[in-house]
Amino acid sequence: MKQMSPMKKTLLYIFLFVGVIVSVFPFYWMFVGATNPSGEIFKVPPNFFPGTHGWENFTNLNENVGIIRVLGNSLFITLTFTVLSALICTAAGYAFAKFQFKGRNQIFFLLLVAIMIPYHVTLIPLFEIFSKVDWLNTFQAVILPQVAYPFAIFLMRQNMQSIPDSLLEAARVDGAGEFHIFFRIVLPVMRPALAAVAIFLFMFQWNNFIWPLVVLQSQDMYTMPVALSSLVGMSRIDYGQVMMGTTLSTLPIMIFFLLLQKQFISGILGGSVKE
């Protein structure tokens, strides 16, 4: 292969580094804002360095919107949703991939169509359902509607197709029950795909906004995005608190992302990129 001229090489690197700065700088700015008093972020010329006001912003934020409770809500909702949804979607994906049964193709086609339907269409009837059973402002109202996530079922089906039928047959011949096969043979083999789907579902629910915004009505039930939006909607915005809030919603995910880069990228992209 030909060599690239040093000039071109330098330009290429400058281009990439400018891109990296644009991508990453807002995170740094968020951190600067979170650790400085509210006025500091709007100083001219700006202060580019982290301050020592972080703890105060945190305690003020907790007094203001109960951020510890909100974090707990988000964590509980997201984890419950992820486990429940991953289990249900994996079981369905397994059936669609590995069994012949009446109605299989019709039901699967319906799921594929549902992927294309914007979920905003369901907001109003969902609101009516949950108000009828008196479940507005509850965690189950946030968790349940998306538990059967068509895209996750689709992904699991695609991945399950790689399991050799002979493996399942051998287990049946050995007298293993169908549930035993699913939990003890299929799930362990599917671990990488399961991790990707779990990350996808986790990120969906952690960042989910419009439905929780509609269905959660009191501050003690808010999730992180809803609490953040309520902070911005206040008549007097304390930017130190706001930035502390955004940091708290972003930092845990960022740490996981940096630890599990490959799984994260393929998870968020919904398995469209194979590693």
Partner: protein, 308 residues
């Protein structure tokens, strides 16, 4: 091997015969048991709402009851200037922002794919970083950076002598601000998809072109772009569907303002549904959205299929 298998098989059959009366988990019923939870949830929380929403779109609330009004919501919709405005805003973003974002994503992916670039995984992670933030969080950060009087962006522009820009309070610049925030959030996401696509292009294609004396630019347009076509289609469909459902960013960044210049279809749906509680009208908006997404996706698929 095969002998012992057969033996094992007959043993199991004998076992099954003994147990059969109690057994409801058979190879015939088991797939239904596995799909049952998913299907139940899907029926209650997706199929029923989708149908119910369609019916609602033909009704309007009179007192505490709903009354069937046939197409009244839809005729009202087609005379509603705000609806046209939201439609126009959404499509403007679609036409301008999506191509810019995909172009940037391809260019970065190609640069990163160059054999001369080291630290590839560092770059990949850095560019992907924005895609892990909540849309609400990224919108808040941009709201603060784009503040007219004290924001960082205007400060940096003032250094090079640009007058302060009213990013969030001028109808034109508010649209630009919205597009900037969306582009920041999604470019890296698309870039990683393109990068994976690039890595699947066989190197022999480039070697052959090299031998024929084709320039790098020619190789880009005659090999890279055509080879990436399925990826372009995929990212384009994803971005289209995403843009048509744009809600979090305008809700936080501009609340649809100023003067409705950043009002999107879903924002208008939300306002009618949950600010004015006009469920019938909001459902009609939702169904127009379904129709638009359906038609556009179909057209994009068809356009892609024709060249194959």
């Amino acid at each position: 091997m095969s002998q012992s298998n057969v033996q094992g098989g007959s043993q199991v059959k004998a076992k099954e015969k003994r147990k059969r009366p109690k057994k409801w988990i058979t190879p015939k019923t088991v797939p239904y048991i596995f799909i049952l939870p998913a299907v139940l949830f899907f029926l209650i929380f997706t199929v029923y709402p989708v149908i119910s929403s369609l019916l609602l779109s033909f009704q309007t609330r009179v007192g505490s009851d709903y009354e069937f009004v046939f197409l009244e919501n839809y005729t009202r919709l087609f005379q509603d200037p705000l609806f046209y405005k939201s439609l126009g805003n959404t499509f403007l973003i679609l036409i301008i922002q999506v191509p810019i974002q995909l172009f940037l994503a391809v260019v970065i992916a190609v640069a990163l794919n160059s054999q001369f670039v080291k630290m590839k995984s560092f770059f990949r992670v850095a560019f992907f970083m924005p895609a892990i933030t909540a849309l609400v969080a990224s919108s808040i950060i941009f709201m603060i950076m784009l503040d007219e009087n004290y924001g960082l962006v205007n400060y940096l522009l003032s250094i090079v002598g640009v007058e302060p820009i009213a990013w969030l309070s001028d109808p034109f610049w508010a649209k630009v601000a919205l597009m900037v925030a969306i582009t920041w959030r999604w470019t890296g996401y698309n870039m990683v998809i393109f990068l994976a696509g690039l890595q699947n292009i066989p190197g022999s294609l480039y070697e052959a072109a090299e031998m024929d004396g084709a320039s790098k630019l020619r190789q880009f347009f005659y090999i890279t772009i055509p080879q990436l076509k399925p990826i372009f289609l995929f990212t384009f469909v994803l971005s289209t569907i995403g843009t048509l459902q744009l809600f979090d960013e305008p809700y936080i960044l501009t609340e649809g303002g100023p003067n409705n210049s950043t009002l999107t279809i879903t924002l208008y749906l939300y306002e009618n549904g949950f600010r004015y509680f006009d469920f019938g009208y909001a459902s009609a908006i939702a169904y127009v959205l379904v129709l638009i997404i359906g038609v556009l996706s179909w057209a994009q698929m068809k356009w892609a299929g024709e060249d194959k």
